[in-house]
């Protein structure tokens, strides 16, 4: 596997109105690597995902993916390059069936997706004709992930997929994400659940107030005074 990073963020900054949500964000991601992105609410985790996926544009800095600058590309152009994401609140096409949700993404991305294999991955085999609107919230999350997989991503951005799941479901999702990564797909996983993240990766970035305050192992992060202060406030 190449040691060249698949994704590089350099001095990325973003603000909304007068609120600076990200500043001087720098990090790299290697092919096939899983990176955890953690931080308190409002620290800018989802903003990082939004900037990489093209939902928002950075005001400064550069985002390089697979050797090319992508920060000015539209989201659909980035999908065609191999970036995709799931959403914290699943965004399925509710007027369509499960299969149509996946088919439409496969068709427009031009990726020859193995739809039965994706349905199997996301645990929706046998529910192809089920309207997406009648799925449970967790099934919709899985369908959202399936939609992303259908485009053949090289980089998958996973936004709080574990929220609201029970321990058995969390283990299932962690296994699925590990299987996906084993296929060579790089991943950035935004998560609040440290135990869940610990099953996936040892490398995390901690954000606080839009800045990276720690990069290293999850174990070391838990002992870092600045990280502890960011999460719990006051003196460590």
């Amino acid at each position: 596997m190449s040691s060249e990073p698949i994704l590089t963020l350099t001095n990325v900054a973003k603000s909304f109105g007068g609120l600076q949500v990200l500043s001087d964000v720098n990090f790299e991601l290697k092919p096939g690597e899983i990176l955890g992105l953690v931080g308190p609410n409002g620290s800018g985790k989802t903003s990082v995902i939004n900037l990489i996926s093209g939902v928002h544009q950075p005001e400064a800095g550069s985002i390089r993916f697979d050797g090319a600058e992508i920060q000015r590309l539209t989201p659909h152009a980035r999908v065609k390059l191999g970036i995709n994401r799931s959403f914290q609140v699943p965004k399925c096409f509710i007027s369509m069936s499960v299969r149509e949700n996946i088919e439409v993404a496969a068709h427009f991305s031009g990726h020859n997706a193995d739809i039965p294999a994706i349905l199997d991955d996301i645990g929706l085999t046998g529910m192809e004709a089920t309207p997406a609107a009648s799925l449970t919230a967790n099934q919709q999350k899985m369908l959202d992930l399936g939609r992303a997989l259908a485009t053949g991503p090289k980089l998958l951005l996973v936004d709080e997929i574990g929220a609201g799941l029970n321990p058995a479901e969390l283990t299932g999702i962690a296994d699925l994400l590990k299987r996906i990564a084993a296929r060579g797909i790089s991943m950035i996983v935004v998560e609040h659940l440290m135990e869940f993240l610990n099953k996936l990766t040892s490398r995390v970035i901690v954000l606080s107030a839009g800045k990276i305050i720690f990069e290293g192992s999850l174990e070391d992060a838990s002992h870092d005074p600045e990280v502890v202060t960011a999460f719990f406030g006051g003196a460590a």
Binding site: H76, R85, E100
Partner: protein, 310 residues
């Protein structure tokens, strides 16, 4: 495995053939061809509006602006440049698409904001065209006259062709991957982008197609009428009728706007002209009933029973 193109288009081809047959033969059994022409005009307008609203969720309250633009472009090109009627008619949808391109930034708005802005744009067109100071260019409030090309038989036949073409376009929207992409965008534009759907480009395409349909309908209407005032082609009533007809039948389907326009325009002519006071009452009750009990149109009576509606 996806069905063949012919299988997917079959229902549309049958619907178009039935419409062509009905409106070609109808003048032989019903001698008010003006009414039949207007019914076809409303089928086209409802379907054209459906292409935008039914497939992207954008409700163009000022849809009549494209109709009026098409009518005026055709009439003015015949009057001022003495273009042959065929060329002048072709210019109708082109003019409407140019207006749609200029108004393209409105697509950044959504919901009621888009509808209101679009309505305002159509009213601006109305005011500009009807401006007495522009009488030398547009005819101002005194309208336009192209009676030298008046040909009710040929314009009727052309409208039959347009009904067929619009039905086939709606079939394409309903049954193609392009239409599926539009449906995805209407459900969730952000997720649609993340499905590699070029949302802005496809929305613009639907907008231009919808505008061209109204522009061509306006061009044929101008040819059929040959003398008209700005009020006749820019009245808000045209937008309202197209919206109500499409909603009554069921937007997002091919048959809905056809059934809605056919039934309600027939009702309008049965009671609306002789006894307008009852017509207003009945129309009001219908609209209230529709919103309350059948917000997805009368075809939803079938879809609720699991019947797949085309």
């Amino acid at each position: 495995m996806r069905e063949s193109w012919f299988k997917r288009a079959r229902a549309g081809l049958i619907t178009a053939a039935v419409l062509a047959l009905v409106f070609s033969l109808a003048p032989n059994v019903y001698n008010n061809s003006s009414l039949l022409f207007m019914m076809m005009t409303y089928i086209v307008l409802s379907q054209g509006l459906n292409l935008l609203y039914g497939f992207t969720g954008y409700l163009p309250f000022g849809y009549v602006g494209f109709f009026g633009t098409g009518a005026y472009a055709t009439a003015l090109l015949v009057m001022k440049l003495h273009l042959p009627i065929g060329l002048a008619i072709a210019a109708g949808p082109i003019a409407s698409m140019i207006v749609a391109l200029v108004l393209g930034p409105l697509l950044r708005l959504s919901g009621a904001y888009f509808s209101i802005a679009n309505l305002a744009a159509s009213q601006i067109l109305f005011i500009v065209i009807g401006n007495p100071n522009l009488q030398d260019i547009t005819g101002g409030p005194y309208g336009v006259k192209i009676d030298e090309v008046y040909n009710p038989t040929a314009s009727y036949a052309a409208m039959v062709v347009l009904v067929v073409v619009v039905t086939l376009i709606a079939t394409f929207f309903r049954r193609s991957r392009f239409g599926q992409g539009l449906k995805a965008m209407a459900d969730d534009p952000v997720s649609a982008e993340m499905s590699a759907i070029p949302v802005v480009r496809m929305r613009l395409l639907a907008w231009l197609t919808s505008a061209a349909v109204a522009g061509l309908a306006g061009a044929l209407y101008a040819w059929n009428l040959s003398v008209f005032y700005p009020d006749a082609v820019f009245t808000l009533e045209i937008s309202v009728f197209a919206i109500v007809f499409a909603l009554f039948g069921g937007v997002g389907t091919v048959l809905g706007p056809i059934i809605g326009a056919g039934l309600l325009y027939a009702l309008y002519n049965a009671i609306g002209i002789s006894e307008p006071q009852y017509f207003q009452l009945i129309y009001g009750v219908l609209i209230v009933g529709l919103v309350m009990f059948l917000p997805e149109g009368i075809l939803s009576l079938l879809t609720r029973r699991g019947i797949n509606v085309f």
